[in-house]
């Protein structure tokens, strides 16, 4: 399979001397007896309201001096019981719940949910719909990675990348708004298609973004990739081996940074991803710096994927032409008796599902996002709707990653995992 090893050789050491060069040898040792120091462990509470936790996450750290000996994350502050709510809603009514989970890449969640329901019901969406969803999912991969880039850079003291990346995010917000009317809570998909087809001029706006975005990305590369401070703060920090990364449930860029070329788009392809030409960036050391490189490269791959999808975007309808699944147009519902009945039945009853269950994993910006739906024969509401949130499992590794590092490194490790608490707590 096509995979690409990302590497950037700059001095490995984290020591830094005056002027950004390598550190000089340490000062001559001096012979003074070490004073008797207390060895008491200290408990430090970070969060739940703290900018460096990237959400309402609470970390209870046990410290030996400034070294972290153990971390206990406490989550659940944002718990909204979306999965329970879903059991009381029809299939299409659940879509608005999905974008409130990962509000940093809402379209990926919208698409993942309806893909799973469509698979359960055996609905084949149109070719145009598939390509449009690929465009939207790749766009939101960039969207999610950009937020990670900005906030992570701020955590190590670099303010400029934050401004650069948020400028670009604003452009994607505008694209969201033009497509769905909302900037964050997009709710763009429906079972069997989309809420609406792409509006006029949207592809032109997208093309404009794609033309300008790589320039910004290379500017950030210049600012961070060879930056001695950034390298000192990230290389060798929070490293994990490939076997451990799999066993601990890492997915997404975090797993690939450890050298495992597992990407759901390649290994369990959906929506013809096997016919697109793209590479999966793979790191070597599994540390924060490799995670950074993987995500940077992924954004470039996403740009190329969107361009490929735009060039193959077929015409035709975007929704399946089945009156039992897709709502009729407003004009039809108001003028044609049969359409009105379908409209009424779809709104009041919903779409009946066959008995069974379906687990649909897709590659979200943060890792493997699995939507698991269970239904009994003829159910218009799920018996169980389960979201396998990638950041939930990724965050559970933080006690292992942070052990033995400094408190300041814990902040960097937490940032490098790219978590979003909305989907962790659900």
């Amino acid at each position: 399979m096509a995979s690409k090893t990302v590497e950037f050789q700059v001095g490995q050491g984290s020591e830094m001397g005056v002027g950004g060069g390598g550190a000089l040898s340490p000062l001559a040792p001096f012979d003074i007896d070490e004073p008797e120091l207390g060895t008491e462990q200290m408990l430090i509470n970070i969060g739940p309201q703290h900018p460096a936790t990237h959400g309402v996450l609470r970390l209870v750290c046990e410290l030996d001096g400034e070294t972290v000996t153990s971390v206990t994350p406490h989550i659940g502050y944002l718990h909204s019981s979306f999965e329970k709510l879903g059991e009381y809603r029809t299939w299409n009514q659940i879509v608005p719940l999905t974008d409130r989970m990962d509000y940093l890449a809402p379209l990926i969640y919208n698409c993942a949910y309806v893909m799973s329901v469509e698979k359960l019901m055996g609905i084949d969406v149109t070719e145009r719909c598939k390509v449009v969803r690929v465009i939207l999912m790749e766009l939101d991969r960039i969207f999610g990675h950009l937020l990670w880039l900005g906030t992570t850079a701020i955590d190590v003291g670099a303010f400029t990348p934050f401004l650069y990346s948020f400028q670009q995010r604003e452009k994607i917000y505008s694209l969201h708004e033009a497509l769905t009317g909302a900037r964050i809570t997009t709710s763009a998909t429906r079972v069997g298609g989309m809420m609406a087809d792409l509006p006029e001029g949207w592809l032109g706006q997208l093309g404009e973004f794609l033309d300008n975005f790589p320039k910004t990305l290379s500017e950030v590369h210049h600012l961070l990739t060879g930056n001695q401070i950034h390298i000192g703060r990230t290389q060798g920090i929070g490293a994990i081996s490939a076997d451990d990364a799999i066993n601990f449930g890492f997915t997404g860029p975090n797993l690939r940074a450890a050298g495992v070329p597992y990407d759901v788009r390649k290994d369990r392809p959906y929506y013809d991803y096997e016919t697109y030409d793209f590479e999966v960036p793979v790191g070597q050391h599994g540390d924060c710096y490799d995670r950074y490189l993987c995500r940077m490269e992924e954004m470039e791959q996403s740009v190329s994927l969107i361009r490929q999808a735009m060039s193959r975007l077929p015409g035709g309808p975007i929704n399946v032409e089945d009156p039992g699944i897709t709502l009729p147009s407003k004009t039809d519902a108001m003028s044609d008796m049969e359409s009105m009945i379908h409209h009424f039945k779809l709104i009041t009853d919903g779409i009946p599902a066959p008995a069974g269950d379906c687990y649909m994993p897709i590659e979200a910006s943060k890792g493997e996002l699995g939507m698991y739906v269970v239904a009994e024969e003829g159910d218009t509401k799920p018996v169980r709707w389960r979201v396998r949130p990638p950041s939930f499992v990724n965050l559970s590794v933080i006690p292992k990653l942070a052990e033995g590092h400094l408190v300041s490194d814990l902040i960097m490790i937490n940032a490098s995992l790219d978590i979003v608490l909305g989907e962790i707590d659900r």
């Binding site: 408990l43 509470n45 209870v60 046990e62 153990s70 971390v71 206990t72 989550i75 659940g76 718990h79 019981s81 999965e83 329970k84 709510l85 059991e87 009381y88 698979k119 359960l120 055996g122 451990d244 799999i246 066993n247 601990f248 449930g249 997915t251 495992v260 597992y262 290994d267 369990r268 008995a355 069974g356 269950d357 379906c358 687990y359 649909m360 994993p361 493997e368 699995g370 698991y372 269970v374 009994e376 024969e377 018996v383 169980r384 389960r386 396998r388 939930f392 499992v393 965050l395 559970s396 590794v397 292992k400 707590d425 659900r426």
Partner: protein, 244 residues
């Protein structure tokens, strides 16, 4: 207040969901097991444990396995070289209600063979316990905690089994069970009372911050309502409906 006209949402939200009956229990196997090497080997190696198998959603293989030897079977699925399911993507639960067993669902993937398999393990309502797979896949740590929290299934051998999404002292039960009403077991008034009378500082005391140790919660203390609390709320528009 109870005999007032209720909106549609209240009707749905107050009571437990209707049970869906026992229709799925008599379902039989379907599909050709020789198409999936792991299902075929499972049938050969553990013929008594495999209850049934199915192809779901077109191409997803599901195997129902009894709870008695579930740990042994999962160990074999992970360690046997021909299976090598090294990635435990998800552990979750499914409750159908109506007295049917709660099922634990394992989503596994083998990065070596590129195969996926779903194991479903019905847990009888009398025991509500099964073996933890934390010793096999560390990713099961939080996933099992979540199933324990939301479904009330105990995982024997889990090193740190405590609530994860709900508060440690949550006394209303396990929310994703079908007999759990959408708005909780306690009345709104009692929920408000508990929220107003809880001591926030309690969660930050040094004893509670002992990292990694399960916290012991005195449920008697929580459900005891201060006498003056009801005075504060009397005359308010909170629905003091049926409690637990």
């Amino acid at each position: 207040m109870a005999d007032q006209q209720k909106s549609d949402l209240d009707v749905v939200a107050d009571g437990p969901l209707e049970s869906v009956g026992e229709q799925a229990l008599i379902e039989t196997s379907s599909g050709d097991p020789s198409l999936h090497p792991s299902v075929e080997s499972l049938l050969e190696k553990f013929p008594d444990e495999v209850q049934r198998y199915q192809i779901a959603a077109g191409d997803q293989w599901v195997v129902w396995v009894g709870p008695d030897r579930i740990h042994e079977i999962l160990t074999w699925l992970k360690d046997d070289e021909a299976q090598a399911y090294d990635m435990m993507s998800d552990v979750t639960g499914v409750d159908y209600g109506g007295g049917r067993p709660v099922e634990v669902v394992y989503q596994m993937f083998s990065t070596i063979h590129g195969r996926a398999l779903r194991i479903r393990c019905p847990i009888p309502l009398e025991s509500m316990a099964t073996d933890s797979v934390y010793d096999l896949w560390k990713s099961a740590d939080w996933l099992e905690r979540e199933v324990y929290d939301l479904f009330g299934i105990t995982f024997n051998g889990h090193p740190d089994l405590r609530r994860i999404l709900m508060p440690d002292d949550y006394a209303e039960g396990h929310p994703l069970r079908k007999d759990f009403p959408l708005r909780g077991r306690f009345s709104r008034a009692e929920q408000t009372r508990l929220a107003l009378t809880q001591d926030v500082e309690r969660f930050y005391s040094t004893e509670d911050l002992k990292a990694g140790e399960p916290q012991e919660v005195d449920t008697d203390e929580l459900s005891a309502v201060p006498e003056n609390a009801s005075d504060d709320l009397s005359g308010s528009d909170l629905d003091d409906g049926e409690g637990l």
